[in-house]
């Protein structure tokens, strides 16, 4: 698929974003400063907030960067943007992407036919979200997701130790993958450490294998030691952890991710507005509207109880619990694990603290694998992918990028719809009519936000309105997909109980 890979490079354009500056800064930090200062450096507002293995990755890149433009490695030079810098950074994304996509191509699919595997390859490689986030907006998710999918593939092949190793590495590259750690933990514990099941698939306590548990433990701890070791020795662990888990950033990002808290915020705002209109509340008593300020900060809800990090943790765990329980009580092999993974990712997305909208990709990509195998999953995938991808639109806000994001979105949506429909042809359409109406509503929202809104006077007074509308509309779709996925899971439980 060399041809497709070279087409990916097309995104090498002139556009910039803040994440570009973030990564340039990290190149500078890891290159010019000694290890002990990596997590203390804060001359730029974009401090290093990924785990150490990623810092080592940036360090490696910085040596190549030196050939392109040494100036970009100067920590004090904020906002440095010469053409070689741009070229280098984009090339690095492309190269790391290529490496991991080549790796991903080797993913085995013993039980998949030739055609579904092609569709799957296209859905994964040309995923609109990845293309837009990585190549235009600028991040390194391509190769990270490659590692994730490779790890999943190893599990599908029953090479559990390798899968565990890859996941440990992944966790140390970007700790957002903690979202799916419960799935890994429970699955490995249940299916790997307990070597046999009873006939009714319940736990056979006697078959517990301490050796396997020890092996897993060794792998995970050794990876963590390699990555965190130097910092523990320097006694910097609390500082590193505070950088990795910044809880001061507020419940929602500047642009609300389409999760449950977005709906909660909107409910809060509507109740407040209604209350003020109906004279039930005094406007002076309420805290100033800060969640819609477009800034990253802590804020209070006006009417409904404020949400703290512990509340979000509890909600997340509650949402993930049924899925985890199901693979504990009745494991369905690697496919069950994959479903649990998707549910964990989606649950954490919906109820997590300070979630970025890009995290929806963590649920969409693994769901692609399930989508080419089952009809229902294909239907849910179409809703979730389209909604999730549309919610990424505000990431690219310049007029120059507008045609690109629309075109890429159209291409991916068109492809996924037609390919999956032709794959599962013959039993009616994949989508319920209401779902189709909802997705068409996305077009209306898009036109309203991108074209109509900038021409109205509200742009000055209510600048956050289109972002709010996008978040809320997409949040509905995401929540709906979550519920449907759970329904499928529970239905499988009930069916297996009856058997």
């Amino acid at each position: 698929r060399a041809a497709e890979l070279s087409c990916l490079c097309l995104s090498l354009s002139d556009s910039h974003s803040t994440d570009f500056e973030v990564h340039r800064n990290w190149l500078a930090i890891t290159h010019s400063l000694p290890l002990s200062r990596w997590y203390y450096e804060n001359s730029s507002e974009w401090t290093l907030d990924y785990p150490p293995l990623f810092a080592w990755f940036e360090f490696g890149l910085s040596h190549v960067a030196r050939r392109f433009d040494p100036d970009m490695l100067d920590v004090q030079r904020l906002q440095h943007r010469s053409p070689p810098t741009v070229l280098f950074q984009r090339l690095s994304v492309v190269c790391s992407d290529l490496c991991c996509r080549c790796v991903r191509e080797q993913k085995p699919s013993r039980d998949l036919l030739k055609r579904p595997s092609f569709i799957l390859a296209v859905l994964l490689l040309w995923n609109f979200g990845l293309l837009v986030v990585d190549h235009v907006h600028f991040q390194y998710n391509g190769f990270l997701f490659g590692v994730l999918l490779l790890s999943v593939a190893k599990h599908l092949q029953s090479r559990h130790l390798q899968g565990a190793l890859l996941f440990a590495v992944l966790l140390n590259l970007k700790h957002i993958y903690l979202y799916v750690a419960p799935a890994y933990g429970i699955y490995l514990l249940r299916s790997f450490c307990f070597t046999q099941d009873n006939t009714d698939s319940s736990v056979r306590w006697s078959s517990f294998s301490p050796a396997r548990l020890a092996a897993l433990g060794v792998i995970v701890t050794s990876v963590c030691v390699v990555s965190f070791g130097p910092f523990v020795l320097l006694g910097q662990l609390p500082q590193v952890l505070s950088r990795l888990f910044p809880f001061k950033r507020g419940l929602c990002h500047a642009y609300w991710a389409p999760n449950a808290w977005a709906l909660y915020n909107v409910l809060d705002k509507t109740l407040v507005t209604l209350g003020v209109r109906l004279k039930l509340l005094q406007e002076a008593e309420l805290p100033k509207a800060s969640m819609t300020g477009g800034l990253v900060q802590e804020s209070q809800h006006a009417l409904l109880p404020s949400i703290s990090p512990s509340v979000t943790l509890v909600c997340t765990l509650l949402s993930v619990l049924p899925a985890a329980l199901s693979i504990w009580l009745r494991p369905r092999g690697a496919r069950g694990f994959l479903r649990c993974l998707v549910l964990c990712a989606l649950g954490s997305f919906l109820f997590g603290w300070h979630v970025h909208e890009k995290a929806v990709l963590m649920a969409v990509l693994p769901l692609s694998i399930l989508a080419v195998e089952s009809r229902e999953d294909a239907g849910i995938f179409l809703v979730l992918a389209t909604t999730g991808h549309y919610s990424l639109f505000p990431l690219l806000f310049t007029p120059a990028e507008l045609p690109i994001k629309i075109l890429l979105m159209l291409m991916f949506t068109l492809y996924s719809f037609t390919a999956l429909t032709s794959l599962f042809s013959g039993h009616g359409s994949l989508l319920h009519p209401l779902e189709v109406v909802y997705l068409l509503g996305l077009v209306v929202v898009a036109i309203a936000c991108e074209i109509v809104y900038p021409l109205t006077p509200w742009q000055q007074t209510l600048p956050f309105l289109p972002l709010l509308a996008t978040s809320v509309y997409c949040a509905l779709g995401v929540c709906y997909s979550f519920v449907r996925l759970y329904v499928i899971l529970l239905r499988q439980e009930v069916k297996s109980k009856q058997l």
Binding site: A2, A3, S6, C7, C9, L10, S11, L12, S13, D14, S15, L87, P399, A400, P403, I404, L407, L408, L410, M411, L414, Y415, T418, A419, S422
Partner: protein, 505 residues
């Protein structure tokens, strides 16, 4: 998957590529005082909007012809006027007389790029889609592949969306002409081609094949009766189209004459800059421009062009089939490019369009030529800062087209129509011509990549500052000459299927 969805995805992909390229730099960006083609187009919008029609082609106090004076026929001027009206609605500063010289801003760039895209979407892309679906053969999957490669031709994308021009309009109109002729609608075809001619005078490169094909067709239908009727219909269509386009200039003969003087600048010399044609390449050995006088240069190029074009045109006159027509288009435009007067390197696009039409029939040679034509413009792209888009689009085109057409597998002697060469090399019957062609292709691609790399990475020798562009031009020239000879031989050899039919009989 259904065809309509494949076609839509194809078109969307190609539009994305175009817009991606247009986010890059344009010609003359940030280079006062003259800037480049981008500024020229903007200036024409300014001139056509603010000045009355009578002054557009004249040198007046308000219209300085030395600063990008209009040198294309009236249809370009009308197009600029239309764009200027829209520009005025968005931001009047863009077309203010005199004050907007050298105006550069990101919003303006967006607007200009958008005008190119809209023109393409309305004219070039639909013509390409219709051509691939109605006039090329093969399964629908093959047609979609042809469409994809047709629309991904890097040369046109880089010139229109990078360097900044509106070739998509003139080439698109010519394509509509070809399409109409292929479907048998001769009058419409001639109208479309006349419009193309009135947009850019370089379309004259294609004029001879159109003329010979239609004349031959009329003669075949009998000069007394249907043929004559057809001829008259076409003639009337052409005259009416020209009259409509030139209407504002017909009131005064001096007006029309001035326009003609502007669009055919015979005072400018045999060639300018480095072009991959005969005269520039000959210049490396003999300094032609100093040896011959200006008049004799004109006559020499005229004579050579005529000689080069004659065989294919006569063949088309005697055998007016669509296949011959396509080949004649290639041969004629290549001959004009190689031997004509005052040729610019961008004129190779006029030869590339007919070769794109042959992608389905002769994939390997077509891909080779299209790659060479993009390569010949490489110095221009480097000057505009379009290196990255150039490399990416060329690579993508090469890999995609060789993969989709399995060009290297389907390269037997028969498929490459090397029958004519076989006759020439009759003394060496054991020579594997197909293998030689494939090897030449590989070597050529490697050489192009190497030359690109050296031009970018290495400095030229101090005594020969133009060393690399000249090398590129000569290399491309050899390719073009070879292509001209090849396509002429193909035009004169009978198609292989007929040969085997004769054998069977």
């Amino acid at each position: 998957m259904e065809t309509w969805s494949l076609v839509s995805i194809c078109v969307l992909l190609c539009v994305t590529v175009r817009w991606g390229v247009s986010l890059n730099s344009y010609s003359g960006a940030g280079k006062p005082p003259m800037f480049g083609d981008y500024e020229a187009q903007r200036h024409w919008q300014e001139v056509t909007y603010n000045l009355p029609v009578q002054e557009w082609y004249f040198n007046t106090t308000d219209n300085d012809l030395n600063y990008w004076g209009l040198d294309y026929p009236p249809l370009t001027a009308y197009h600029s006027l239309l764009c200027a009206h829209i520009a005025k609605l968005i931001n009047p500063e863009w077309v203010e007389l005199h004050k907007s010289r050298g105006y550069e801003s990101s919003a303006h760039k967006l607007f200009m790029r958008a005008t190119v895209l809209v023109a393409d979407l309305l004219i070039y892309i639909p013509a390409a889609v219709l051509y691939c679906f109605y006039l090329s053969d093969g399964s629908s999957k093959k047609k979609v592949c042809t469409l994809l490669c047709f629309l991904l031709y890097p040369g046109l994308i880089l010139i229109d969306y990078g360097h900044f021009q509106y070739n998509g309009v003139s080439l698109g109109l010519a394509l509509w002409g070809v399409l109409a002729l292929g479907l048998g609608w001769d009058a419409l075809g001639s109208m479309a081609f006349s419009l193309a001619l009135n947009y850019k005078q370089m379309e004259l490169y294609h004029a001879l094949p159109f003329f010979c094909y239609l004349l031959g067709k009329s003669v075949k239908q009998g000069l007394m009766g249907r043929g004559l009727f057809l001829l008259v219909k076409i003639a009337v269509t052409v005259v009416v189209t020209f009259a409509l386009c030139w209407l504002p200039f017909l009131s005064d003969p001096s007006q029309a004459l001035q326009v003609v003087r502007r669009i055919f600048p015979v005072a400018r010399g045999l060639f300018e800059d480095k072009v991959a044609n005969t005269w520039c390449s000959l210049n490396v050995l003999i300094k032609i421009r100093s040896v011959l006088s200006a008049d004799s240069q004109l006559y020499l190029s005229f004579a050579c062009t005529l000689l080069a074009v004659l065989p294919s045109s006569i063949r088309l006159l005697t055998k007016p089939t669509f296949w011959q027509f396509k080949l004649a288009l290639v041969n004629s435009s290549l001959a004009f490019f190689l031997f004509s007067y005052q040729v610019h390197e961008k004129s190779i696009l006029l030869a590339s369009l007919p070769v794109c039409l042959l992608l389905n029939d002769l994939p390997l040679m077509a891909i080779w030529f299209l790659q060479a034509s993009t390569f010949s413009m490489m110095p221009l792209f480097l000057k505009d800062g379009l290196l990255v888009p150039y490399v990416v689009t060329s690579l993508a085109f090469l890999l995609l087209s060789t993969y989709l057409f399995s060009a290297l597998e389907h390269s037997s002697e028969d498929e490459l129509r090397l029958g004519g060469y076989r006759k020439l090399f009759f003394c060496l019957p054991s020579l594997d011509l197909a293998c030689i062609v494939r090897w030449k292709f590989y070597i050529s691609i490697v050489a192009m990549a190497a030359l690109t790399f050296t031009t970018v990475a290495m400095a030229p020798p101090p005594r020969l500052p133009d060393f690399f562009p000249v090398l590129v031009s000569v290399f491309a020239f050899l390719h073009f000459l070879g292509t001209l000879i090849y396509f002429n031989i193909v035009q004169f050899s009978s198609p292989p299927s007929r040969k085997s039919q004769k054998k069977n009989n």
